[in-house]
């Protein structure tokens, strides 16, 4: 046997940490975010690093972050969910109307029991939209783009039917105080804490569990996943349900923050969530991505926006700057894939 020892294949190893990091999109996008912050900080040191500005930046991004965590799972399966913003609106409406009904028409002074029911209704109704999306996509095999474009319109229509087209403005004050404008641990907004918890759980779920692994496997090669015994249909329904559930939670957060249902202000949430997710290194082709990347990606448009305001550049430049970064990110991803597939 000694003769074969020298020709025995070397034990495969893990690459050194530095090389693995350099190969990860997340690192590059984190550097871009850092560079943006540094540039804005140099131009106006008291602007972006000011505590109040930072708080607003974080609060305003937290609802979008919750949507984007769900979007990350969906895009990793190589799907898409265009309905997140209007499902958010629908869930907010369903929740507000339920709380009002339980309080005899006006929930302004409602207690925590009613608020808890409202929370469950928001999350539950969101999840329900997600399950419908998932069944149509995974079972009926209708493309995700079409299904979620349909529910994008249908959820908003349903919300407007329920409210007659005008916002529900009676929302429990206790909810607004606690979640919407409350802070913990010496000034950290509760909205931000909740979004951080969602992102942390999402990151754990995607990176370390079997649920996450199947999500990657389906996005990478659905046929392979199916042939190795992954329940593809069931898993896809769960992924869209998760996205819907998080949209519902985001609807509840939005309700708490604005203390009204904001029917008209979420028509581009879906695009913002997709942009944040893709900026964060999640591939539209599926199989690649991370929640940590999404957290960073979501903050790039937000920082650009705040930064432009602070340094006095017209905020109309923000979408243009985001578009450039986004197209560059996708181009980079495609080039990487082409290089790999040419072997």
């Amino acid at each position: 046997m000694t003769a074969t020892t020298d020709s025995a294949p070397p034990q495969a190893e893990k690459r050194p940490l530095a090389r693995r990091l350099a190969g990860a999109n997340t690192l590059w996008i984190a550097l871009v975010l850092l560079a943006l912050i540094v540039v804005f900080a140099i131009i106006d040191p008291s602007g972006i690093l000011n505590v109040t500005n930072l708080q607003y930046l974080l609060i305003e991004t937290s609802v979008l972050l919750v949507l984007s965590v769900g979007m990350t799972f969906v895009i990793v399966t190589s799907g898409i969910d265009l309905s997140v913003g209007t499902v958010l609106v629908f869930s907010g409406v369903a929740s507000a109307l339920t709380m009002n009904a339980l309080s005899g028409g006006d929930s302004t002074n409602a207690g925590w029991g009613v608020i808890a029911v409202g929370g469950v209704v928001a999350v539950g109704s969101g999840a329900l939209w997600g399950v419908v999306n998932g069944l149509l996509i995974a079972k009926a095999r209708i493309p995700a783009l079409i299904v979620t474009l349909g529910s994008f319109g249908a959820a908003l229509g349903a919300a407007e039917l329920l409210t007659g087209g005008s916002d529900v403005r009676s929302v429990p004050t206790a909810l607004g105080k606690a979640l919407g404008s409350g802070t913990s641990f010496g000034g950290i907004p509760n909205m931000v804490l909740l979004a951080a918890v969602v992102a942390a759980i999402g990151a754990w779920l995607l990176a370390t569990t079997r649920f996450g692994r199947y999500t990657y496997a389906i996005g990478s090669n659905e046929v392979a996943a199916q042939r190795t015994g992954v329940g593809v249909t069931r898993h896809l329904v769960l992924v869209y349900a998760l996205s819907g559930l998080l949209s519902g939670l985001a609807g509840f957060m939005s309700l708490a923050y604005f203390t009204t249902t904001t029917l008209t202000s979420h028509s581009t949430d879906n695009l913002n969530a997709i942009a944040g997710t893709v900026l964060g290194g999640t591939s539209l082709f599926g199989g690649v991505g991370s929640v940590i990347g999404t957290v960073i990606g979501v903050f790039i448009p937000a920082v650009l926006n705040k930064g432009f305001v602070i340094i006095g550049v017209s905020p109309f430049w923000q979408p243009i700057a985001v578009a450039i970064v986004l197209v560059a990110a996708v181009w980079f991803d495609q080039a990487r894939r082409r290089a790999r597939n040419q072997r």
């Binding site: 294949p9 893990k14 690459r15 692994r213 990657y216 090669n221 690649v288 790999r340 597939n341």
Partner: protein
């Protein structure tokens, strides 16, 4: 001969108007390597897919150890100890080799985290490295996506995945097509090892010297039907080519 390990009787499979299988029969015994050969489009891959649950035949019978079985999905076949290397490999290119080896059979951690679905990646990686070393699969890194490996390495991983889990039958649809000389010999060695462990191996290959060197028997498929059977020791290259092209017919092809 005693009852074959796996037997297919008169399988028929249509794809729309294309008749890929027209009553194909086949058998493999335990501890035997059978090569399934035939021209391009003869129906070999379709046949394997039917026998591994990836496709369902329109009619015909499949028997495992003499008992009729219904393979409604690859999962069913896998649970019966039947593993397959598909011609298109069916690996997830964005996952690393260890993740591919354990796809659908992940090892979870102990305790509450495991109950929540958390994977024991380290253990899977360690065991995967062992298996790869044992089967002669050379990889520089275990944590790169499999799509970044060479075509031959990817194929070796797919072969390793099938033989690690098989307990009854392994189907290999052109497992050596992209391999260099050394890797090809390794795969053929693996095939012999698996056979010696009492597993039935079904090999599809267009490489006739390879077929003659590794198989115990050869079955020939032509236009969706079995047209000839040989014992590898008795068959010559001319016999095989003749059977594939239709110049030589042993079985009834009415």
């Amino acid at each position: 001969m005693s009852t074959p390990l796996l037997e297919a009787r008169s399988l028929v499979k249509h794809y729309g108007s294309v008749e890929a299988l027209r009553g194909a029969s086949f058998e493999v015994a335990a501890g035997e390597v059978v090569s399934l050969i035939g021209d391009n489009g003869a129906g070999k891959s379709t046949f394997i897919k039917c026998l591994s649950g990836a496709e369902q035949p329109d009619s015909g019978e499949i028997l495992l150890e003499g008992k009729p079985i219904h393979l409604d999905s690859p999962t069913t076949a896998r649970s019966l100890g039947i593993e397959t290397v598909y011609q298109d490999l069916a690996v997830a290119p964005d996952l690393d080799p260890a993740a591919n080896l354990y796809l659908g059979r992940e090892i979870k951690r102990g305790g509450i985290l495991g109950a929540l679905g958390m994977l024991d990646k380290k253990e899977m990686r360690r065991r995967a490295s062992e298996e790869f070393a044992r089967l002669g699969v050379t990889l520089q890194n275990v944590d790169v996506p499999i799509g970044a490996l060479s075509g031959g390495q990817r194929q070796s991983v797919a072969v390793a995945r099938s033989v690690v889990w098989a307990s009854k039958v392994v189907f290999m649809d052109e497992p050596t097509a992209a391999l260099g000389v050394v890797q090809r010999e390794r795969v053929l060695d693996v095939i012999r090892k698996v056979r010696d462990a009492g597993i039935g191996v079904v090999l599809i290959s267009h490489n006739m010297p390879e077929v003659l060197s590794v198989s115990d028997r050869v079955e020939v498929l032509r236009l969706g039907k079995r047209v000839a059977r040989f014992t590898a020791g008795d068959a010559s290259l001319e016999d095989l080519v003749g059977a594939m092209t239709g110049a030589l017919v042993q079985e009834d092809v009415s």
